[in-house]
């Protein structure tokens, strides 16, 4: 299950893009801002608006074949306006025609009219004098599916050649995104970026129970996806021996980057947001209860790094910036958008999500400072315990204690004397995120960008060795 996101629709482009052989040019920032100018021209109240222009190609692999290839184009506008008394209404449409934009304003106004008065109204920022930093961009995000299909096919062959009979699954998402933001105070900004996200699952069905391995990549240049490396890594994490059992209990763990991403996913990120603090369930509300976290763990919000999926501004047009989240065991204050900042006399940290997305501001570009240990060094530090490639279906058990539950998946191993001894059947865990961080003994030097399929969040994480991790039950596979 997931929360609703941006509209998946597409609107009639009325911004007059050129045509190449019947195919409209991709939307530009200028197209987006022109569309928003038309909207603001008929906006009778303070407000801000976002233009999304996106193109996506998705190639799935299933049963070692290309499956459900799909193309999607959409343009949409979301409007948030403020009636007298700080009453806010928002609305979204893909109908970018004049009547469509007029209806959008009416919809948002109707909603705002009946909204309660805001206790602490916020104001929209003026256009800052400093321009947004340029982003790296690859034209490969606009290519058709031929090249990635061939790359995906090669990756499938790479795996199949080593493990005949293996079932290969995965997905490749290639996106071109334009976000433009304008408000009634004069702010006009936008950017375009590319998103590439690839994953590969290798299942050895000749084993009973089947064994599986996993690899994933994310970046802004689809042409730079290391498909061979992806296949090799999925293979490398696939167990080649019969899986043993580990009884439920507490074990030391080595968490691979994908597992670290799941550990630091939804609950932890939400806990660092202003809403969680305002609602009282974030661990930030009770600093005295936060366990001592070793200084080798340092986290920052790093939205501009080309090693991730850079974004120069948030959905309110506030410039995103690098910001320390955790240093020397001390967490910084929560992330803010304009509204939460106004309520708490803080400043927006540039972490606003679009108003149509629930949940409030969260860090979306969390970056863990890499350590010095290579893989063997991490295994040596672990000594004896469980190596986890990936977690699955992680859900909150207790938000205040950052307690989560989930399963291991796609390559779980028992490590003895600093060496991988044998694969083990998957395990369920119930564990506090903070307790895991507090027991970190080593951080790997590898830093890996891992993102969701549309690049809304992109974390840069490193493998971690941590102490007691509570595995509560096992499986038969």
């Amino acid at each position: 299950m997931r929360a609703p996101g941006r509209p998946t629709g597409s609107g009639a482009p009325t911004t007059g893009p050129g045509r190449r052989g019947g195919e409209p040019d991709p939307p530009s920032v200028r197209d987006g801002l022109q569309c928003l100018e038309r909207l603001l021209a008929i906006l009778p109240l303070p407000g801000d608006a976002r233009y999304y222009g996106e193109r996506w190609l998705t190639l799935r692999a299933a049963n070692s074949q290309l499956y459900q290839p799909q193309l999607e184009r959409y343009e949409a506008v979301s409007l948030r306006l403020v009636e007298e008394g700080g009453r806010v209404g928002s609305s979204t449409t893909t109908d970018l025609s004049e009547p469509g934009l007029t209806a959008l304003v009416q919809e948002a106004r109707t909603l705002a009219r009946w909204a309660p008065r805001s206790r602490v109204p916020f104001s929209f920022p003026k256009d800052p004098s400093s321009p947004l930093p340029p982003l790296p961009f690859s034209p490969a995000v606009l290519t058709d599916g031929t090249r990635p299909t061939e790359a995906l096919r090669r990756a499938i062959h790479t795996v199949s050649n080593v493990l005949p009979g293996a079932r290969v699954s995965g997905a490749f998402h290639q996106g071109y995104q334009v976000l433009a933001v304008a408000n009634s105070s004069g702010l006009r900004r936008g950017y375009r970026r590319g998103v590439a996200q690839a994953s590969l699952l290798c299942e050895d069905l000749s084993r009973d129970p089947p064994a599986s391995g996993w690899a994933e990549r994310a970046g802004w240049d689809p042409g730079a996806v290391d498909w061979d490396g992806l296949g090799q890594e999925a293979l490398a994490s696939t167990p080649r021996a019969a899986a043993g059992s580990v009884p439920p209990g507490s074990y030391r763990v080595l968490l691979a980057p994908s597992a670290v991403r799941e550990l630091l996913g939804s609950l932890f990120l939400s806990s660092l947001g202003a809403h969680a603090v305002e609602e009282g369930w974030s661990f930030l509300c009770e600093p005295a209860r936060i366990p001592e976290i070793p200084s080798l763990l340092e986290m920052k919000e790093d939205p501009l790094s080309p090693a991730g999926l850079p974004e120069p501004m948030d959905a309110e047009g506030t410039a995103r910036r690098r910001r320390v989240l955790l240093r020397d065991g001390v967490f910084s204050g929560p992330c803010h958008d304009l509204a939460s900042a106004a309520r708490t006399s803080a400043r927006s940290t540039g972490n606003a999500l679009p108003p149509e997305m629930p949940g409030g501001p969260i860090p979306t570009h969390l970056s863990l400072r890499p350590g010095k240990a290579d893989r063997q060094g991490l295994l040596t530090t672990l000594g004896r315990g469980v190596l986890v490639t990936r977690f699955w279906y992680v859900r909150t058990v207790h938000p205040g204690r950052t307690e989560i539950t989930g399963m291991t998946r796609d390559g779980t191993y028992w490590v003895e004397n600093g060496s991988i001894a044998y694969p083990v059947r998957n395990l369920r865990f119930t564990q506090s995120v903070l307790a895991t961080l507090a027991q970190v003994e080593a951080v790997g030097k590898e830093s890996r960008a891992v993102a969701d399929e549309r690049g809304l969040t992109c974390l840069r994480v490193s493998p971690l060795v941590s102490g007691d991790f509570h595995f509560t039950s096992g499986t038969s596979y």
Partner: protein, 480 residues
């Protein structure tokens, strides 16, 4: 529509279909702590075109509903199908569909159009309910929400199906979050994660009577702060209708989706512990377990006249008296299993996504015993109600669920509350421990508006019904 299908039907194309949504609209109202946190409406429109060549599928979608754009979109879908053929050496299985009415119109019966009801009326309802949650200062957060969805869809296929449908879905709920004693406790009504949903008009939301239930919701959230921890160990467990419905959703509904069983969702949503030969023989649970998929239930969130492959909605059993007898199927997956007909469960979110095998209304049938009679079977056990957290592995075997409410049961009587209850198990063992289900008076068809699956992600609105159920020797534990 004809232009889309005709353009897509080029030489070598076995099947093509098109779905136009105009509009797909939604409205979401959220009141949190007296403030309107979200007042938003979204609307989009567009067309999705799917092409099946001999060995591969292609799908493309656009909102430009002009002749040129539709032709271009159809060509793209056909080109993608050619690309897909490069990786598949054998034909895509496919079953024909000729039964039932395949042309027509359907519209959800609506007494009050939820989009036409004044916002003030809806907000007044939510504000009053949210205000009533705050029974003390320990209730730090109150939340009342309501959503409405409208999908107006035209469908046409190259094998002659053609229909127009207008589905309207409405729902909402309330939740109180109490904080104190180092604890955070949440209590929701009528169920968690946004409440209950059904097909119909504003009358669905009004009928939930959120205001009348709000104060009790707040009181219980506060009370749970100081409740003792849930005991650990194996014990009898009685699951409420809403918790058991979610159990059905996660451990039966998803597990019987044939695309998962056949490995097509392995890369993301996962597979299933079931395999094709299990149909007709696999012992899923006890004799008390009968589960069916029914797309024809009036008012069900997972009800529809035709699926997104032009197949009429159907009712059929998945598990009969504990034995697996069916899967949720599409035309392609049914063909791969050698079935003569699709179960009509292929659905897509909106116009920009390709259809997947999805649940319809997948429900556990009620038994014949009253709830007091069911409870009288428990000497020492626990009652579990309203999901708080859920997690299940990628094969739908190993699960752990937490609930908002836990109450001890002694000699058939409900006793005091316990906090942070959890229970866990392995799917067939758990269903094998189902002693009995209560009668229809405890059965409810719950609407789940956010069932996720697929790449790119799709959210489906589905229904899951269940009565109260008694399970023996369940592993129960406390989250502290």
């Amino acid at each position: 529509m004809a232009l889309a299908v005709d353009t897509a039907r080029r030489p070598g194309v076995r099947f093509a279909d098109a779905r136009l949504l105009w509009p797909r609209a939604s409205e979401r109202l959220v009141v949190r702590n007296g403030q309107a946190e979200t007042l938003s409406r979204q609307e989009d429109r567009g067309i999705g075109i799917r092409v099946l060549r001999r060995n591969g599928w292609g799908f493309a979608a656009t909102s430009q509903v002009t002749r040129d754009a539709i032709r271009s979109c159809a060509h793209k879908a056909e080109r993608l199908a050619r690309l897909a053929e490069r990786t598949r050496p054998s034909p895509v299985p496919w079953v024909e569909e000729a039964r039932g009415p395949r042309n027509g119109r359907y519209a959800t019966p609506v007494r009050e159009d939820p989009f036409a009801v004044p916002v003030q009326r809806k907000l007044d309802l939510l504000r009053e309910a949210e205000r009533a949650l705050h029974v003390s200062s320990r209730v730090k957060s109150g939340r009342a929400s309501a959503s409405a969805f409208l999908d107006r869809k035209w469908y046409a296929s190259s094998d002659g199906a053609s229909y127009e449908s207008t589905l309207v879905h409405v729902g909402g709920g309330i939740e109180a979050t109490a904080v104190g004693e180092g604890e955070v406790q949440r209590r929701s009504y009528p169920t968690s994660f946004g409440g209950d949903f059904a097909q119909g008009g504003f009358e669905i939301l009004a009928g939930l009577d959120l205001v009348s239930h709000a104060a009790e919701c707040g009181r219980l959230a506060q009370r749970l702060l100081t409740a003792p921890s849930c005991p650990k160990g194996r014990m009898d467990a009685v699951l409420s209708s809403d918790q058991l419905a979610l159990q059905v959703h996660e451990s039966v509904g998803h597990a019987t989706e044939l695309d998962r069983v056949l490995g097509y969702e392995a890369g993301y949503a996962g597979t299933s512990f079931l395999s094709p030969p299990d149909r007709g023989s696999f012992r899923y649970g006890s004799d008390a377990m009968t589960v069916e998929a029914d797309a024809t239930v009036p008012g069900g969130l997972g009800s529809f006249p035709w699926d997104d492959e032009g197949v009429p909605g159907q009712r059929y059993p998945l598990v009969r008296e504990g034995r697996l007898v069916g899967f949720l199927t599409s035309r392609s997956s049914a063909g791969e299993l050698g079935l003569s007909r699709s179960g009509g469960t292929a659905r897509a979110e909106g116009w920009a996504r390709t259809p997947l095998v999805r649940m319809t209304n997948v429900s556990l049938r009620p038994g014949s015993r009253s709830v007091p009679d069911l409870l009288s079977e428990v000497r020492q056990g626990i009652y579990l109600e309203t999901n708080r957290s859920w997690s299940i592995d990628d094969r739908r075997l190993n699960f752990q669920f937490g609930t908002e409410v836990g109450r001890l049961i002694r000699h058939g009587e409900m006793q005091g509350y316990v906090r942070n209850p959890l229970y866990s198990g392995i799917t067939p063992e758990f269903w094998g421990s189902l002693e009995a289900t209560a009668d229809a008076s405890s059965w409810h068809l719950w609407g789940i508006p956010n069932c996720g699956k697929g790449q790119p992600g799709q959210v489906a609105r589905v229904g899951n019904g269940a009565p109260w159920g008694l399970f023996r020797k369940v592993q129960v534990g406390g989250g502290g």
